[in-house]
């Protein structure tokens, strides 16, 4: 018994030691700023005025009565959905096709799809701004040959989100693809073979076997797409539309930025941040509660 106790404490020690470096960094550069943000959310302040006016929950109240909020939240959801389709579902399908259907030229495709992900989104945004210029960009010129007129997407509600998502996708697709590819090919070959022998149709193999068995990777990409996607899409918003037209392309993260750094509503932006964080944490907890249960892990 004594031995086990010792072992436990010794193991616990090792565990804490392993976590310590990460924890230290987090404590200083994440938790402390977070507390500070939470603190600021109770004040009316613009970051430089010497006087912070304590306003209690006013910022939060304002948040809930802000007429922009429903729009921004709706946009956020739309972004998430589009990004999930383009950067979670699509690469999954592609990875599946490349690992189980098309075997020739795999390496080439993988390499090529990955390429854009090394490029900065600022560059990507500027590039797309040019290329997708609906009046005189190459895409428009090419489309004109085919008699198609490209809508002025940057000023079209709805469409603007789609295009911004596409720009973001261009950047993160390759990375997601390659990670998912790793997960998908991690499914033992024999198991796929067993299914093939049973003449299981491809889409069934995908949904019944590959998806559940690579679900650990899937969940990772799912969450990363939401988290990273929302943060990534920030750059194209900033470069291309500044949230316009009429906030039609703004999302929660851009809105926080706009309130905090363009309008200097520091307190309000802090309250928004905290609310967003709470929202995401709730999502995360739900994920842990329900999604993780259905996921196949080896241990």
């Amino acid at each position: 018994m004594k031995n086990k106790k010792n072992l436990i404490t010794q193991n616990t020690m090792i565990a804490y030691m392993l976590i310590l470096p990460a924890l230290l960094v987090f404590a200083i550069f994440m938790f402390y700023p977070l507390f500070y943000t939470a603190y600021l959310s109770f004040f009316d302040w613009n970051m430089i005025k010497p006087l912070k006016v304590f306003v209690g929950l006013d910022n939060y109240k304002a948040l809930f009565s802000d007429p922009l909020m429903p729009l921004v939240i709706k946009n956020t959801v739309v972004y998430i959905l589009i990004l999930l389709i383009l950067n979670c579902a699509a690469p999954y399908i592609l990875a599946f096709i490349l690992s189980f259907v098309v075997k020739k030229g795999r390496g080439f495709y993988k390499g090529a799809f990955f390429l854009p992900s090394v490029i900065s989104l600022v560059v990507g945004s500027i590039l797309y701004l040019w290329i997708l210029n609906p009046v005189s960009g190459p895409a428009a010129v090419a489309a004109e040959f085919m008699g198609i007129n490209i809508p002025i997407w940057s000023k079209t509600q709805g469409l603007v989100i789609v295009v911004l998502s596409i720009i973001t996708t261009w950047k993160i697709f390759g990375y997601n693809f390659i990670v998912i590819f790793g997960g998908v090919t991690g499914v033992p070959q024999e198991i796929i073979e067993a299914a093939k022998i049973d003449n299981i149709p491809l889409y069934k193999i995908f949904f019944d076997i590959v998806l559940p068995m690579s679900s650990a990777t899937g969940v990772y990409i799912f969450i990363m797409t939401i988290v990273q996607g929302l943060q990534y899409v920030f750059t194209p918003i900033k470069v291309v539309t500044q949230g316009g037209p009429d906030n039609a392309s703004s999302n929660v993260i851009y809105d926080i930025y706009q309130e905090g750094f363009l309008l200097y509503h520091t307190g309000y932006a802090s309250a928004m941040s905290i609310a967003a964080m709470v929202l995401f944490v709730i999502l995360l907890v739900i994920e842990f509660r329900y999604v993780e249960k259905g996921i196949y892990y080896e241990n």
């Binding site: 430089i48 609906p134 960009g137 002025i152 000023k155 037209p245 906030n247 039609a248 750094f261 309008l263």
Partner: protein, 406 residues
């Protein structure tokens, strides 16, 4: 930060600017280098701030929060009130009066009063000295105009412009007109105020006057009704013009180099159109210089540098490098100034010739000013998308802004 360097006992100060390499960044460095070479006791470090005046303001914010501050900063006109309300700065005349009695009349002697007024905040304090001055001009694609059978010298009035635009659309199938749509209402202000509207009257929004509504609606009609004008983001609009897809581009003179270098057709710039029978009112773009140095030594050094920047030679170099209009009176005609340059660069004339029409860029007072500006931007999108009439939109927004400003 501004620290004292031990070396040579020179006072080291920082100058914050927003000039990217494509927009005079090189000239900033040349000016600073020249100054440093000739100054015995001041050394200036130039620091670029990306993302224009907004970016600079952000960095200044962070700097202030850390208890530091540069000595001289460029402040965009839109931030005039915000800056003066929130940052510690020294009014230039105050420093002059204290330590530089020789320069007592420097400001009055060298600047037009309407130009100096640009840098006065809503309380009437002279926050800084106008430095980069720009006005909106009309770039025209002469080839296209000719093709549409129009006067190749472009329209003189907005009424004419509207006709031109429609004609181009009908005759060539290309767009007739594009007015810049960045994250500000600068160009739209020119349109409205030239028609007799006022963006702000006595600290209150007043753009939703009949004149304002009419002007905005006329512009909106081009976009919505005749579809002769393009409603698109700024970069794309400029790109479309330079590519020859739009006949007329209404934007800042600061884009001159870009347009000139890129366009392969017969391009020209003409002065801002006026509304028939009405005087032009053109908001000043660009920035003024503010002295944010905190201690006396630094402030003195800052003034020395600022004064240097306003010398005729420096101003001329500045204009050449950036395309801004010189705010100082006598630079344009001086031999050591811009005389020959302006002769060669006809496009600049469009801007220099309309200096007398310059008015301050409307900056809504108080902490809510920036938000008011944002509301106006949203309104622009609403009107130009046709979802709501100019009358309704402007009236609503005006009310909203005035509620904010209370």
């Amino acid at each position: 930060g501004s620290e004292q360097s031990a070396q040579g006992d020179k006072v080291k100060i920082e100058y914050w600017h927003v000039n990217a390499e494509t927009q005079g960044g090189k000239t900033v460095q040349e000016l600073v280098d020249k100054f440093n070479a000739q100054s015995k006791d001041v050394e200036v470090v130039a620091r670029y701030n990306p993302d224009m005046y907004k970016g600079l303001m952000q960095n200044l914010q962070a700097e202030a929060a850390a208890g530091k501050s540069p000595a001289v900063v460029q402040v965009g006109w839109a931030f005039l009130d915000y800056f003066s309300n929130n940052f510690t700065y020294s009014a230039p005349q105050k420093i002059i009066d204290k330590d530089f009695s020789d320069d007592k009349n420097f400001l009055q002697d060298n600047f037009l009063p309407n130009v100096l007024d640009l840098a006065k905040n809503s309380k009437g304090d002279q926050v800084g000295i106008p430095y980069s001055l720009s006005t909106p001009v009309l770039y025209i694609n002469r080839d296209l105009l000719r093709q549409a059978g129009l006067d190749e010298n472009g329209p003189k009035t907005w009424e004419e412009l509207i006709k031109f635009s429609d004609t181009v659309k009908k005759q060539t199938g290309k767009y007739g007109f594009y007015m810049q749509e960045p994250a500000d209402n600068w160009a739209q202000q020119a349109l409205l105020e030239s028609n007799g509207a006022r963006m702000i009257t006595d600290g209150k929004a007043s753009f939703a006057s009949e004149d304002g509504i009419k002007a905005y609606q006329a512009y909106a009609d081009m976009v919505i009704k005749t579809k002769s004008a393009l409603h698109i983001s700024w970069d794309q609009g400029v790109q479309a013009f330079v590519n020859g897809d739009v006949a007329m581009l209404y934007t800042t003179i600061a884009q001159r180099a870009n347009v000139q270098k890129g366009a392969k057709f017969d391009v020209a710039a003409v002065s801002s159109p006026a509304w028939e029978g009405k005087p032009k009112k053109l908001p000043a773009g660009g920035c003024f210089l503010a002295i944010t140095a905190q201690d006396e030594k630094q402030q003195k050094a800052a003034w020395e540098f600022v004064k240097y920047l306003y010398s005729v030679e420096s101003m001329a170099a500045w204009t050449k490098g950036t395309g801004y209009v010189p705010p100082r009176k006598d630079v344009a005609d001086a031999e050591n100034g811009l005389k020959s340059f302006l002769e060669e660069n006809k496009m600049m004339k469009a801007a220099t010739s309309q200096m007398d029409s310059v008015v301050p860029w409307a900056s809504f007072p108080g902490d809510a000013g920036l938000q008011a500006e944002q509301l106006l931007l949203d309104t622009r999108d609403k009107i130009l998308s046709g979802s709501i009439s100019a009358r309704e939109a402007l009236t609503q927004t005006q009310e909203q802004i005035n509620n904010l400003l209370k």
